[in-house]
Symmetry: C2
């Protein structure tokens, strides 16, 4: 099993940070503009990138943590877990993990890099008021996603 583990600090408080992760409006402001569903525990959120994308079941949602289980979407994502842990350190810090990948395939390398750019987008949203969700996302290849 392999994990993608990333950490970023933001210049705002924990409640504001959490709202960017546990509301549809927040998520659509930094990951993809096409988000639907419900973000409360037990519900499912649908993320779409040009009509395809993952469904995430919310398995935990508290004032310092959000955890999703991927229940539909890219084959390599099925059964993987995504978590956001928010801590008060010298500043508000987000510990992100996308874990339980079966293998370190090229798609794993790609998603690891892509998650990093979306966390930069989340930081830009929180620090400067505007993120870069798909389709205006920061590109990591010359053509394509």
């Amino acid at each position: 099993m392999s994990n993608i583990s990333l950490k970023i600090g933001v210049a705002t408080d924990r409640a504001t940070t959490l709202a960017a992760i546990n509301t549809i409006e927040g998520l659509s402001s930094w990951w993809t503009t096409d988000v639907s569903g419900e973000t409360s525990e037990g519900q499912t959120i649908r993320f779409r990138f040009n009509e395809s994308g993952p469904d995430m079941k919310v398995t935990a949602s508290s004032n310092d943590k959000v955890v999703w289980l991927c229940t539909a979407g890219p084959d390599e994502w099925l059964g993987t877990e995504i978590s956001f842990l928010i801590k008060d350190e010298d500043e508000t810090v987000i510990y992100f993990q996308h874990k339980n990948w079966r293998e370190e395939t090229p798609f794993h390398y790609h998603c690891s890099m892509k998650w990093a750019t979306f966390l930069l987008s989340l930081k830009e949203l929180l620090d400067e008021g505007k993120g870069r969700p798909f389709p205006d996302d920061r590109k990591i290849v010359t053509t394509g996603f």
Copy 2:
């Protein structure tokens, strides 16, 4: 053991890409401006960030691969391996790996995110002619590195 695995595509050829990774001038244009040593196989490169930083022994250097072993620097980096594999796909692609971390500590999360921003810097150098090496690097925290 845990790995950091990242992938990025660039709009230039493999030889130009390689020169950004296997020369002192190239490395100082996207990772840190303070680089010294020799980049040929068997030699050691010293990377410094405000006077501290890792020493890397070059264990492989060919026309599609560069591999370093960390021989001095942060405790968690000692004995870890960093590799750059350059492939001709639809475009030139860099497969980056920093592997054999003993644990997924907060510093591992930090370095994973920081490597992603330095690969963006490498992409900017190759695509646009100017990278963002330390100390002008893209920050992932509000204060500090």
